[in-house]
């Protein structure tokens, strides 16, 4: 006999996105709809011209309490968490709530800094350090699984909520631009020599980005407009560390799993926010996976052309964008696209379009072979 737990749905009560596009969701969404990109050219002595989405050096993230002793990424986390909490219609005690973090490299840019407390290079320690700002001593959860970290942090949070271990969970993901990561992608010849163009025939690699996204989740909605997270399913290609499987079967497995767990048909997917990193292989693999799972007719877009690839933050930031797009019944255009560059033709969104949207799919794939598919739904 098969028994399943009756799962309560999980709702997004509040959120925050901090990227070079803006420090409020409204600013971010506005620029996405208007096809504005934060990806800019920057000259690097050894690597030439790099195209990336970076905060201006003068950017400040004004936290409620003094955070001068924190690093940029730590301050981003704190500021974003505070922003998300401030938008809640009721107070929550941040010292008592479970914090789930996602980051791939944390404070990596301080690796060579002899004056930096090297404990904070460990992301688990960094998370506790950030939690201490909120007087929070509950053991934080840190997910670090390459570019699917953000989506998986949401996966973990949903599980914790559905097991009634918590009533509210704060999920937050961030990564910052660093020479470390840029050099690595450069050595892979994976950096685009122009602002990246997902799914396009001329695409030539990624543009890196930085930012932070925070979600406040609960099994108890506070409004009919709270978007529901129906399912989050992960898989592994088990094929190659830094390139996706050529067949897309790993991602297809995750998508099929998410669709099944959400109790819907693939034809009900109204929009897809793809991982769309603009490498030759990723975008082709995603197209194949979309076809295999019967969702390739759905409008699809990638925001990597607007905010670059934000690594550990991507799964959270891009899920938040999708949630708002669903709420607003407005499709986000896929910037940089002009001619199809995948063997499977996709329905790429080229202009912000009003459309009745009920269900959206968010996909992510990462180094190490991980894939995650997440499904969002409007309550009514």
């Amino acid at each position: 006999m098969v028994s399943h737990n009756m799962k309560s749905p999980v709702y997004i009560l509040s959120d925050s996105v901090i990227t070079p596009l803006g420090q409020t969701i409204a600013e971010n969404m506005d620029k996405l709809y208007s096809k504005v990109s934060a990806v800019q050219a920057e000259s690097h002595e050894q690597m030439g011209t790099l195209y990336r989405s970076k905060f201006a050096d003068t950017s400040t993230f004004p936290t409620k309490n003094n955070s001068d002793s924190f690093t940029k990424i730590e301050r981003l986390f704190i500021f974003s968490i505070e922003q998300a909490v401030s938008k809640l219609s009721f107070p929550i005690d941040l010292s008592q709530v479970l914090l789930v973090f996602a980051s791939t490299k944390g404070n990596i840019e301080y690796l060579t800094d002899p004056d930096f407390d090297h404990n904070r290079l460990r992301i688990g320690f960094m998370a506790n350090h950030i939690a201490a700002y909120f007087n929070n001593t509950i053991p934080s959860i840190v997910v670090s699984n390459a570019c699917i970290s953000g989506s998986q942090a949401i996966q973990y949070a949903c599980q914790a909520l559905q097991n009634k271990k918590n009533t509210h969970v704060v999920v937050t993901g961030a990564d910052c631009i660093s020479e470390f990561v840029s050099s690595g992608f450069h050595s892979f010849q994976a950096l685009s020599p122009f602002a990246c163009t997902p799914f396009d025939k001329k695409r030539a690699g990624v543009s890196l980005g930085e930012g932070c996204g925070t979600l406040i989740l609960s099994t108890i909605p506070v409004s009919e407009t709270n978007i529901e997270i129906c399912s989050v399913v992960s898989s592994n290609d088990a094929n190659h560390l830094s390139g996706p499987s050529r067949t897309g079967e790993g991602l297809a497995s995750a998508i099929a799993g998410a669709i099944k767990e959400a109790g819907i048909q693939s034809s009900e997917i109204d929009v897809i926010s793809a991982h769309g990193t603009a490498t030759l292989y990723n975008d082709e693999m995603e197209a194949l996976a979309f076809q295999t799972t019967g969702v390739s007719a759905a409008p699809v877009y990638s925001v990597k052309g607007n905010i670059g690839h934000t690594l550990g933050a991507a799964g959270i930031i891009e899920t938040i964008y999708l949630a708002h797009s669903i709420q607003q019944d407005k499709l986000i255009p896929s910037i940089g696209f002009s001619e199809s560059g995948t063997s499977i033709g996709l329905n790429i969104v080229t202009q912000a379009t009003t459309k009745k949207i009920k269900i959206g799919l968010k996909t992510a794939s990462g180094f190490g072979g991980g894939n995650t598919a997440l499904i969002l739904k409007k309550q009514k």
Binding site: S187, F188, Q189, H240, L241, S242, G243
Partner: protein, 89 residues
């Protein structure tokens, strides 16, 4: 040229961590990728770094890489040709 080939074989083994492989076991004209030594895409990138570091030669991307790194012989010819060019300049 023979000296260059032997040198390249040693460098390849070192750079790519090919445990238990001796220079004598690598045939000059055997394909390095696929069935040959079984090298993969990351190995091509490492070989590109090797040529840059050791010989100051830039290989642009995977397409050029395919023909340059076909075998040790093709690598040696590429390096040799570049060295000739550098000497002339």
């Amino acid at each position: 040229m023979n000296q260059l080939i032997t040198e390249l074989k040693k460098e390849i083994i070192l750079q790519l961590n090919l445990q238990g492989v001796t220079p004598e076991e690598i045939e000059d004209n055997a394909p390095l990728f696929g069935d040959g030594l079984g090298l993969d895409s990351i190995d091509v990138l490492e070989l590109i770094v090797l040529l840059r570091k050791k010989y100051g030669i830039k290989v642009n991307g995977a397409e050029e890489g395919k023909s340059v790194f076909y075998s040790v012989q093709s690598m040696a010819e590429f390096v040799y040709a570049n060295q000739q060019q550098q000497q002339q300049q």
